[in-house]
Symmetry: C2
Subunit: 195 residues, 2 copies
């Protein structure tokens, strides 16, 4: 792997796990197996590394959503189910998810504007993708057409975020069942009334 690639990967892991301030250039350098000053041959500052990591994560996130949501072989509720399940199970220890959800909520002051712009772009794109699939769900009778797309979208994303970042206060067994419990309530909440 190229040195620059390695810097991105290791930095993302540290930023996601420990946060921006708690991640030092020394930690990154050690993980990449070079000396600290060598980092500055690739990036002019710690902020610049962060921005590069962020841009890459945004691209990957959208690419992932597109590939999952545009599967016309599957029924809509199956797609939404599988996506939520993946998020809730894989996310513990998933470096990309850790990173994505952390900086959606908590931005270092000096990077706040930059970060918020990127998330706004990303969430707007995600919204369009979801509008399409929700519309399909309504047409095919899986989702109650009385509900607005915004309703489905808001609720689904709140649950998704929650599942992705909730720490396990209650232990492993509880957490494994959490997705199924939550999914049932969501599914009851959006199904057509007459079914």
């Amino acid at each position: 792997m190229e040195t620059k690639e390695s810097i991105i990967v290791e930095s993302r892991n540290f930023f996601g796990t420990f946060g921006y301030e708690a991640t030092s250039m020394s930690m990154i350098a050690e993980a990449v197996a070079i000396k600290k000053p060598s980092l500055y041959s690739h990036y002019k500052s710690k902020e610049d590394i962060f921005k590069d990591v962020l841009d890459k994560e945004m691209q990957d996130y959208i690419a992932h959503l597109k590939s999952v949501l545009n599967d016309n072989q599957k029924r809509v509720m199956e797609i939404l189910h599988d996506l939520m399940k993946t998020m809730s199970l894989d996310s513990t220890g998933d470096a990309s998810a850790d990173f994505y959800y952390r900086y959606a909520r908590y931005q270092p002051q000096e990077l706040k504007d930059y970060i918020m712009e990127r998330y706004t772009e990303s969430e707007n794109t995600a919204r369009v993708l979801f509008d399409d699939i929700i519309e399909r769900g309504k047409r095919e009778g899986e989702i109650d057409a009385e509900l607005s797309n915004a309703q489905i979208y808001s609720t689904y994303f709140l649950l998704l975020d929650g599942l992705a970042v909730t720490p396990d206060f209650y232990g492993k067994t509880y957490q494994e069942g959490e997705f199924d419990r939550v999914w049932e309530v969501f599914q009851r909440g959006i199904r057509p009334a007459s079914v």
Copy 2:
């Protein structure tokens, strides 16, 4: 206000808004209007300030929940509705909520064990309080008795957390409507089938 009280309040605001690492003893001292070394007459370290803030927030959180949940004048769904609404609207800029939700998910390494213990205690207490009210909701026909308490609890808390901490990517108007949209889906998801 006593100096020590003031330290707690200002520290909580900074810790909640900017995070533990991004909050310096100088910032706290300036906000309290004393010099930095004077802080050490009240606390022996930054970690100690944090622990005191955390303990206090936990107590307040549980006290708040108790007072809201044990209102037998109100119907169960009304209580759950009002609590979620308060969280979703007041929480933007509510220093206590900012603090509580931030450290539930992200702990500085050196304080991790201490923080997790406190949250586990707090969440276990919250769970008992919710079990009671959910049982009441089932008895009084507002909640489908087919669903487990864990289901209601998990889903409700995921939504609550989400509403409390979601940043406004979409602007003010969108955010104001978010609570109502989410509440309807939740309410449809847990109501008895025959109603």
